[in-house]
Symmetry: C2
Subunit: 128 residues, 2 copies
């Protein structure tokens, strides 16, 4: 499919959400799926789905935002990356298109993270 190319290389430096200071990143698509990305354009608002391959899939409950004062909470009520199926959801804007890769706004995924899927954010019914 593709992967994230980002200056973020360390879990400890990754912000928790894309709007909390995450850097721009490139998404590189594999050549065989490039036709699926052919109409992506600068200015598109996308939902990027990633596979958070450095997450701990055995975690079912966490203290939200690693704050021990907050009670243990089932991960389905949190955005913890550690969860049984660690799919990352990222709202991004396309800043640049260069063949089979796109540059996107603030993305909190680490360098090398696999891309699962890309979808347009849902707008008016006629653009669906």
């Amino acid at each position: 499919m593709g992967r994230v190319v980002s200056p973020l290389e360390d879990l400890d430096e990754a912000p928790r959400q894309g709007d909390e200071g995450a850097p721009e990143a490139w998404i590189e698509f594999d050549p065989e799926i490039a036709p699926a990305a052919a109409q992506l354009e600068r200015g598109d608002h996308l939902v990027l789905l990633t596979w958070l391959d450095r997450a701990d899939r055995d975690v079912l409950q966490v203290h939200p935002r690693d704050d021990p004062n907050r009670p243990l909470t089932g991960v389905f009520s949190t955005r913890s990356p550690d969860r049984p199926n660690p799919v990352g959801l990222h709202d991004v804007e396309v800043l640049e298109v260069d063949d089979a890769r796109i540059r996107v706004s603030g993305l909190e995924a680490l360098d090398g993270t696999p891309i699962l899927d890309v979808k347009p954010q849902l707008g008016r019914a006629e653009t669906r």
Copy 2:
């Protein structure tokens, strides 16, 4: 993980989006991951991620909404269920919680569709 229990059994009768007349559905979680769902409550607004197991994963371009008058478009610019990694994204509200299952508002996924993940919709930073 879990699966969708829904009266929708046929692709031809499924609406294209949850807000286009989809029925309520139950989400049944497998017992071993129930702790991840322990804090889900009536009124929660969730993003449900499903694996659209009846989708065609070889499709890279489609006529949006099956309208032949619309030009062939890369699936990353559409919400077509047919795509290389057919992950469904569904905004739902929890209507009822019954042990390790929840009833949710309009869901356009077919009966038996596997659940990949459940996340809260992102609201204010302090609730993340």
